[in-house]
């Protein structure tokens, strides 16, 4: 059967198969399909860089062109992972430099990247096209200069939310004059102070990039430069402005407005740092074409926000600060019937009193008015079970629901009950829910609901919730599709963890910090489950310097075929028996 088609034909057929899942399925059909498939796979996504080694990847897939890697766990975004934990990309780049000279794309998330690594990337891969560094750190503008100078065919340089040390050089001018291949440039995370040399380098670069479609600038680019930049790149599809403020001057305004109206392809807008509201109308001419609007850095009053948003009838994604308030969200619900994703961020989360009127009402209004809503991230200070019932009833199509009530353990503010029933309604009605973050006062009951109903849930984030092991047991035993579970400050202990040890091998990772998992349980898990890496993070010193029953600060468990990692810092201990013995 496998012999009826020559390899070349099969390979050609496989080349139409893009998704990883499908490719994996193909490779399981028979040995010869496995072989053919592995030689023609061009793209790989590795969700945990410690689950596999570069050598294993290279051995199985010798002809990759595109590699995506993720390093630190998600909670690293919130300072819960100490500096030096790991996630170094250098060994990967070294190995790939030798094995994949034709590599074109590298996408990294939450990894540590050094200037040396960037230089190696720029020199090892002659046809390098795409570099995306999402929430990465460890490099400076010198590293960027190597990329700019050496990557002749660079199409995409995207530094989204990375922590880049600005050494003050003029790295943008390192792009050779002959470089005209840029399609996408995102430097929005860079600093807010730039010299005139940087600005003119940017202008020249934009001017000689006819294929540029996505440009996200940093705060340092002043408003009066924006019009010129737009005129040089009228085919932009996505724009991130720099600072959106200037002395009020009619000329600047009309110039800007004219420039915007020339950008007829514009679909996404972001940036808007330091917004002076009087300049917002400059973008009105392109509002009807916008599908994505990120105003989450714009400290602007609700009325100004509403005036802008109500012009964007085709909006599919809106990110905004809670200055929008309930009234603004009601207006949004009236105007933007195509809305799919809403994120509302807090403008002053550390204040004791709320500074804006943003309550559960706003989200309820959007759930009523926007029939296509599927993704929500909402920070607020109060909620009720009733509101959650209503949202669940209105929008059974929700796939991502993240609610963050700012004060931990806040109950339903009207009934003073836990929010178990409300979240229960969400998981029961929204059968396609893939991602959920909980907050507010929650008992084990909510986990019973989740375990019973959330069968498609892939990622769950829990904080300051639950009563005991039963809660965790419900989740681990009930959620069949669970891949990532992250928990902080919950009274979950050993029992549920050990009872569901086998489940952990079906997941990418489990993070538990400030819970009640004992060192002993971690050791047991590490010793009994060779395909799990069980790592204890504890800055108090070695866990065996305390009683075994003592809870560890953090345990991070992930499946791996690479064995325990060897680059752990002093405050991370592996529970793998062999390695621990070897190192002691």
């Amino acid at each position: 059967m496998a012999h009826s088609f020559p390899e070349e034909v099969l390979e050609h057929v496989f080349s139409f198969i893009d998704s990883d899942k499908d490719r994996n399925a193909v490779s399981l059909v028979c040995k010869s399909w496995y072989e053919i498939e592995r030689w023609c796979r061009r793209k790989i996504f590795i969700g945990n860089c410690y689950a596999v080694t570069p050598r294993i990847m290279i051995r199985r897939f010798p002809e990759l062109r595109s590699v995506s890697l993720k390093g630190k766990p998600h909670f690293a975004d919130f300072d819960l992972v100490p500096e030096g934990w790991g996630g170094y990309v250098d060994p990967w780049v070294s190995a790939m430099g030798r094995a994949y000279p034709l590599l074109e794309e590298l996408r990294l998330k939450r990894m540590v990247v050094s200037d040396d690594t960037l230089e190696m990337v720029s020199k090892s891969f002659k046809n390098f096209k795409v570099l995306v560094l999402s929430s990465c750190e460890g490099f400076t503008t010198d590293g960027l200069a190597s990329i700019a100078a050496n990557c002749r065919n660079l199409r995409e340089l995207d530094l989204r939310e990375s922590d880049v040390e600005d050494l003050g050089g003029n790295w943008l001018s390192c792009f050779p004059e002959s470089c005209t291949s840029l399609v996408s440039l995102n430097i929005s995370c860079l600093g807010s102070e730039w010299s005139l040399r940087n600005l003119s380098a940017l202008e020249r670069l934009v001017g000689r990039s006819p294929n540029l479609r996505r440009l996200r600038m940093n705060r340092a680019v002043p408003l009066d430069k924006l019009a010129n930049l737009l005129r040089r790149a009228p085919y932009l599809v996505e724009l991130g402005t720099g600072a959106f403020s200037s002395e009020l001057h009619p000329d600047v305004f009309s110039n800007l407005s004219g420039a915007f109206s020339g950008c007829k392809e514009l679909r996404a807008l972001s940036g808007f740092w330091d917004v002076v509201p009087a300049y917002l109308p400059a973008v009105y001419t392109i509002c009807s074409g916008l599908t994505s609007l990120n105003l989450s850095y714009a400290a602007v009053q609700s009325s100004d926000l509403v005036k802008l948003i109500t012009q964007c009838q085709n909006l599919q994604r809106l990110w905004v600060l809670d200055y929008i308030e309930d009234s603004g969200l009601e207006a949004l619900a009236e105007s933007c019937k195509n809305l799919q994703e809403l994120r509302v961020f807090p403008s002053d989360p550390f204040a004791a009193e709320p500074n804006v009127t943003l309550t559960e009402q706003g989200l309820v209004a959007v759930s009523e008015g926007c029939p296509k809503l599927e993704s929500v991230l909402y920070f607020c200070r109060q909620f009720t079970n009733d509101a959650l019932f209503t949202i669940a009833k209105n929008r059974p199509s929700l796939t991502r629901f993240r609610l963050c009530i700012i004060e931990p353990r806040t109950p339903d503010y009207i009934t003073l009950e836990p929010l178990d029933a409300g979240f229960g309604a969400i998981v029961q009605n929204c059968k396609e829910l893939r991602r959920l973050s909980l907050s507010g006062l929650l008992t084990d009951r909510v986990f019973e609901h989740i375990g019973t109903h959330a069968k498609k849930l892939e990622m769950l984030s829990i904080a300051f919730a639950g009563d005991g092991d039963l809660g965790l047991h419900h989740v681990l035993s009930g959620c069949e599709s669970l891949r990532k579970l992250e928990i902080r400050d919950c009274p979950f202990g050993d029992k549920a963890l050990l009872a569901n040890a086998a489940k952990l091998e079906t997941m990418r990772s489990l993070w538990m910090s400030s819970c009640s998992v004992s060192f002993e349980a971690c050791k047991l898990l590490g010793q009994k489950m060779p395909r799990l890496n069980v790592e204890v993070i504890d800055e108090r010193g070695p866990p065996d310097s305390r009683p075994e029953s003592c809870p560890v600060n953090t345990v991070y468990i992930y499946r791996s075929i690479a064995g325990p990692r060897l680059d752990m810092p002093a405050f991370v201990w592996t529970m793998d028996e062999e390695l621990a013995l070897r190192l002691s």
């Binding site: 600005d166 003073l416 009563d467 039963l470 009274p491 047991l524």
Partner: protein
Amino acid sequence: MELQLGLALAPPIQNPDKCLDLKICGFEPNEQVGSTPWTMSYDGASAKNEYYVKNKRSFIEAFGNVVEVEEGHTPKTTLPLVSWSDQPHEEKEDNCGRRKMCKRLIIERNQGVIVGWPPINSLRKKLLYQHHHHHQNQHGRIENNRTDESRPHSRSNSMYVKVKMEGVAIGRKIDLNLYHSYQTLKENLISMFSKNPRSELDVSANYTLAYQDREGEWLIAGDVPWRAFINSVHRLEILNNAGSVPSRTLIDEVAKRMRGPVIRVRSLVIPGNPGERIEVYADKLEATGHGANAK
């Protein structure tokens, strides 16, 4: 009065293989968790446990800055005090423990030290801080956004700076808001970095704490008042008095300021007195550039 956390501590597992699968052990979903054998026991051994348990709440506690609560302390009225009375499945001691844990969280919250909550990333926190300065200044333009771009600086919450120790490859990040004196800072840093906290070698006197200020100067910590130090410190380094091999950080810093690689650092003079500059004698490849510390 020391705050005691009541958390369920597991007794030693008698039969590891069996208990790995609780179904064999007869674990029923309806079973009330918190009944035997997973209850807390207050025997002699656990007196020490409580100390460690107390220290486990967050990374903050690891540095010894434990929040101490008076028995009669009442939390701020603006923050909701959750009523725990209707928790039917709880063991009595757990209930008590969690109420105290809740109190502690409220106290922590008053001092703004719940690490990583609410879950906002550092880029956004930095911007929130800058927004508030803008509003406070009531000017048309941003006045006071000159916070160090490389240091996330949120308003009332945390002040992280990088710390490196001579001879230790991996640096740390610490929150300076948790300390109130040079002494506590230095001691905690040394115990954080040292492999054996009880060793004779890791005594405060054997180390010197140096810091880099906003202007890029490296100074010995200790001369200026603590508040002034906090406002100007950019980065910390712990130097070993015994051997004066300059660390990678110092060398890198000097190299950056001189805009070129330093081929050899000849010597490092650590002054005896706080406030004096550290002098770095180095040979450089290029004559261009300037570095205040290079000679």
